[in-house]
């Protein structure tokens, strides 16, 4: 023990644990702070990934206040994109959250409620398992079986959230329109596990994943198409899939359909000024930038304008890493500076390809009374409108 009570003794056990939870990522950092320099949260509040990494390197545990702040990270990956040492900073965030949950630190209430819903119902809303396919009741959507070639993974929000359900409905219409052999997992679909993973509940994430994996093993689809970039991400990163099964985000799949001449538009959306917001888990996390833009540009009448911060520099909507369910103070919401950027380039539609982004921008438009100027829409909705 140190003689002086004001000196802090590095906790080497903690260090060991956090290094291992972060899969050694903490060790690669040389503290340049490129991460904190680009972190968008500093536009609206305060977040310092460099410091979090350094505390781990030194074996310093977080103070309760810092642990609470840790939850504001949206895992948008801007830090990882610039990191000169290829540190997976979002893994370090997840590791710190995991450690805190296990150590019994105080997790902010909204995240606890969400995690409990995931635990009991396999979705973040606390809604019944049987209600998962209610959105499809009037659509005659097939449940996947061994004959199914395309497995459409709907995801929690598109299943339960009334606003996001229209993305799923739009995609199903597109699938029908192009006579695809597709099916959904029905009530057997569980949460994909991506948000749960980055919220630090890795075991629960693994549990949800393995349930989905066993359905997929039964179906043996040629292709999996996901609504959400978050699902796409964890399918690519963590899922054990049949050897020949390919995973696409729906924007990639639509892009291919358009290229192959299988998707034809019959209507125009005249003089629609659209700007496209790159969802973090599609863009930075998975390098998918061109396909969504090509799909938008293929829609008759759509005029695409870029916001100054586009592609790799896209500003997060604020909904990732569990924050779609958090109660963030209005002035601390990233969706608002992003919305302003969209309005500034003269867009009447802020298009995106992720239901969290859609939700965050809908809220931002309401809070800022911008309904007259701009609407938030998903690409799938726009495509379905023009069919």
């Amino acid at each position: 023990m140190s003689t002086f009570s004001r000196y802090v003794v590095p906790d080497l056990e903690f260090r060991k644990k956090i290094v291992s939870l972060s899969q050694d990522n903490i060790n690669y950092c040389y503290q340049c702070s490129n991460c904190t320099g680009i972190c968008p949260l500093n536009m609206v509040s305060k977040f310092n990934p460099r410091e979090i990494i350094h505390w781990g390197q030194l074996g310093l545990k977080m103070l309760p206040m810092d642990f609470e702040r840790l939850w504001s990270c949206t895992t948008c990956g801007a830090c990882e994109y610039v990191c000169p040492k290829e540190v997976k900073i979002t893994e370090i965030i997840a590791a710190n959250r995991s450690y805190g949950i296990e150590a019994g630190d105080k997790v902010p209430a909204t995240y606890t409620t969400t995690l409990e819903s995931f635990y009991s119902y396999g979705n973040p809303f606390g809604l019944g398992v049987d209600a998962r396919t209610d959105w499809a009741n009037d659509l005659d959507v097939p449940i996947a079986n061994k004959e199914t070639k395309i497995l459409y993974f709907v995801g929690c929000n598109a299943s339960y959230d009334p606003r996001s359900q229209s993305i799923a409905r739009g995609l199903v219409n597109i699938f029908k329109n192009t006579n695809l052999n597709y099916g959904i997992m029905g009530n057997k679909e569980k949460d994909c596990g991506n948000c749960i993973y980055f919220m630090g509940e890795t075991e629960l994430s693994d549990h949800e994943r393995s349930q989905n994996e066993s359905v997929i093993q039964e179906v043996q689809p040629e292709v999996i198409v996901t609504t959400s970039p978050h699902s796409y991400n964890i399918f690519k990163e963590k899922y054990e899939l049949p050897k020949d099964t390919e995973v696409f985000h729906y924007t990639q799949y639509l892009d291919q359909l358009i290229k192959d001449g299988k998707l034809e538009f019959t209507k125009s959306l005249p003089d629609t000024n659209v700007t496209y917001h790159d969802p973090c888990y599609l863009g930075r996390h998975n390098d998918i930038y061109d396909e969504p833009r090509r799909v938008l540009e293929a829609i008759p009448g759509v005029k695409l304008a870029e916001m100054p911060n586009n592609r790799q520099l896209s500003i997060c909507c604020g909904g990732g890493g569990g924050n779609a369910w958090a109660e963030t103070e209005v002035e601390e919401r990233l969706s608002i500076p992003r919305l302003n950027e969209a309005v500034d380039v003269g867009a009447s539609v802020l298009a995106t390809a992720c239901y969290f982004c859609l939700q965050m921008f809908d809220d931002a438009i309401k809070v800022k009374n911008r309904e007259q100027d701009i609407q938030a829409k998903d690409i799938a909705e726009l495509v379905a409108e023009a069919l």
Binding site: Y30, Q31, C32, S33, N34, C35, T36, G37, I38, C39, N42, K46, N48, R50, E51, A78, V82, P84, K85, E86, R311, Q312, L313
Partner: protein, 659 residues
């Protein structure tokens, strides 16, 4: 079976080998092998004691062959060949069993390691008995050196050689010598005027009787063997007859094509279609850039021809080729300034007032596009306004796995140099955004100290991005020392960008048969003990083509490379290893397959005898031709089929013993 008396010598290599395996057991095993008369061990076989124990055994026991079980043959094969040669054996009666790099260093389990050592020793014993005495060939060295690249490293190497009365051919791609240093105004840490220390050397090169200077020229082809290289050089048509040209500059003055972005000034300034890259160019003769010359594009103009007082303009000139024989080559091809336009968060090439380092050098240069003034741009054009605040971002494209993972070594110091020069010329406030200040050279820490005292602001953190707000640039960064997220408004940002390998470095390396490292810089033979040698004897490296370095190091390497070349030329000959291929004329069916695979152009058809013939001096013993020959007519000395099969047999037999 062959006759022979083999001695096996097992090296402990301190604990490198003996710490892993039982030397005693290996020794006992070795002494059971056929023809082995003695098996002994020493702590360090390469030491004098170790070597003399081999020599004693040879004379005591009349040994005819020697196996040394120790480190890699690339370390000490030469040493031990010398050892046995002194005892009267042919040096090629030696085989090395590499039980260190290939075994004890990489095998964790000591039992398995011992088994592997036994196999390697058995293989060497079985192979050595098949080896035949070979004689090295003496090859005269052509007393001439070709130096490729005339930056400061190439210039230094050329002058060292020329002043030792050796003949040098100096080849430079650009119209003038001088390299990157010619762009600089001042050099750190002494703030010497760069051209004041460089131009005297350039002039000396241009006038030196021992130096043939070929500018606007490139290596077209390269062949031959160390000591006797053949270099074919393409002299690009300059469209100016240098014998008549006086370098008066009238043609350049009168040329009506004015707006060609100057390569020398990184496109910040313009040049004419007939031009010298900069006023102190050596040679002083201009060249015509045919891609932009009105006469070459449209067949009209000829103003330069009309104006030239000495009739030196020659539109008909063509590229010519010169074949040069050289005993040694020095590569000093330099670096390429890194282009940071692929780093989106820094918006280089997008915002007006973001400059990269090499552009700042040309701007500060007194004869540069802004006459040495540091000016701001608006809509892509220079204004006459100077910045009041400047941000300098370190490590752009360096120490960054997304771009170049290495440290470029000079950026910290040139960033401090810019701070001093800009402050001196504009009185601006300068912010240095750094990760670590690396002030490792002589006088560098003192320079850092000086700049701190001059009031430069140091912010420790790598900026996340640069934002634009009207006429200001905002540098967004965490100062990690105060742990504050900062927005620092500045008028201009300098990106201290990396030194990269030349984009054609791999191609050049393959022309000369040398290697490149992961980052495309040329690979030296040994990073510490042979820093200017390459894997090809008689080819040396100097300057930044080998890796980022500053001027003092480039000059030192230039001199070191010159010393290497001088060593060969002064001795007058090289010894050629005799491990080459030969063709049995009686068996050869003249199918020519060997000719098609030979990478060294060493095999040709004897049209009279209708057989393939190998030129011994060109053959490198790579082994391709004996492997492909369908008639087994090609024999490779030292690596005969018999020797290779014997090695395999040694391994297999030992495995079966265990088995």
């Amino acid at each position: 079976m062959e006759d022979g008396r083999i001695g096996v010598f097992i090296c402990h290599c301190g604990t490198n080998i003996a710490g892993k395996i039982s030397i005693e057991e290996l020794k006992n095993f070795a002494s059971t092998l056929p023809h082995v008369v003695t098996a002994r061990d020493t702590t360090y076989t390469c030491s004098e004691i170790g070597q003399s124990s081999i020599q004693e055994a040879i004379s005591e026991l009349n040994l005819t062959h020697v196996v040394v079980a120790a480190c890699s043959p690339s370390m000490h094969e030469k040493t031990f060949r010398g050892t046995i040669q002194k005892s009267g054996l042919n040096p090629y009666m030696l085989a090395i069993a590499n039980i260190r790099e290939m075994n004890t260093w990489v095998t964790e389990d000591s039992e398995k390691s011992l088994e592997k050592a036994k196999k390697l020793v058995a293989a060497a014993v079985r192979r050595v008995i098949t080896q035949e005495p070979l004689e090295e060939e003496k090859l005269a060295v052509t007393p001439r050196v070709v130096v490729v690249g005339a930056g400061i490293a190439g210039i230094e190497a050329s002058l060292q050689l020329a002043n030792a009365d050796k003949e040098v051919v100096l080849v430079e791609r650009e119209p003038s010598i001088g390299g990157q240093m010619a762009r600089f105004d001042k050099t750190f840490p002494t703030l010497d005027c760069a051209s004041c220390i460089l131009t005297p050397k350039m002039v000396e090169v241009g006038q030196h009787p021992n130096i043939t200077l070929l500018t606007y020229s490139e290596i077209e082809d390269f062949s031959g063997v160390p000591g006797q290289f053949n270099v074919r050089i393409r002299r690009k048509a300059k469209s100016v007859n240098e014998e008549l040209c006086t370098g008066c500059g009238i043609c350049e003055e009168k040329c009506p094509i004015k707006k060609i972005p100057s390569e020398f000034y990184m496109g910040l300034g313009n040049r004419k279609a007939i031009y010298r890259p900069f006023p102190q160019a050596v040679p002083q003769y201009p060249v015509i850039d045919r891609e932009n010359c009105t006469y070459f594009l449209k067949g009209k103009c000829k103003i330069c021809e009309k104006e030239c007082p000495t009739e030196a303009i020659d539109y008909e000139q063509e590229d010519t080729f010169i074949d040069v024989e050289a005993g040694a080559i020095i590569l000093a091809t330099g670096f390429e300034p890194y282009d940071p336009s692929n780093i989106p968060q820094y918006h280089y090439g997008e915002y007006d007032n973001i400059f990269r380092a090499i552009e700042v050098e040309t701007m500060l240069n007194a004869s540069g596009p802004t006459d040495g003034k540091f000016l701001l741009r608006k809509d892509g054009k220079f204004t006459d306004e100077s910045p009041k605040t400047v941000g300098i971002i370190h490590c752009v494209g360096s120490r960054d796995n997304n771009y170049n993972s290495y440290c470029s070594r000079v950026c910290c110091m040139y960033s401090l140099k810019y701070a001093h020069l800009i402050k001196e010329r504009t009185d601006a406030t300068i912010f240095q955004f750094y990760i670590d200040i690396r002030a490792f050279g002589k006088g560098y820490e003192e320079f850092y100290d000086r700049l701190q005292k001059e009031g430069v602001v140091f912010i420790r953190g790598k900026p996340g991005q640069i934002l634009q707000d009207k006429d200001k640039l905002i540098v967004q960064v965490e100062d990690t020392l105060s742990q504050k997220a900062l927005h620092v408004p500045v008028d201009t940002v300098i990106l201290s960008s990396a030194l990269s390998a030349r984009s054609d470095a791999r191609q050049v390396a393959s022309t000369f048969g040398i290697g490149c490292g992961a980052e495309d810089f040329f690979r030296e033979l040994h990073p510490k003990m042979a820093p200017v040698d390459t894997q090809v004897d008689a080819i040396f490296l100097a300057g930044t083509c080998q890796g980022p370095k500053d001027i003092p190091d480039s000059v030192a390497q230039g001199a070191a490379a010159a010393a290497g070349a001088l060593r060969l030329i002064s001795r007058g000959h090289v010894m050629i290893e005799p491990m080459i291929a030969s063709i049995d004329e009686d068996v050869c069916s003249n199918c020519k397959m060997c000719i098609s695979v030979c990478p060294y152009d060493a095999i040709a058809e004897d049209t009279e005898k209708k057989v393939a013939v190998i030129t011994a001096s060109k053959c490198k013993g790579c082994g391709l031709c004996p492997a492909i020959c369908p008639s087994s007519a090609i024999h490779q000395a030292f690596y005969s089929d018999e020797a290779i099969l014997a090695e395999i047999a040694g391994i297999v037999e030992t495995a079966q013993l265990k088995g």
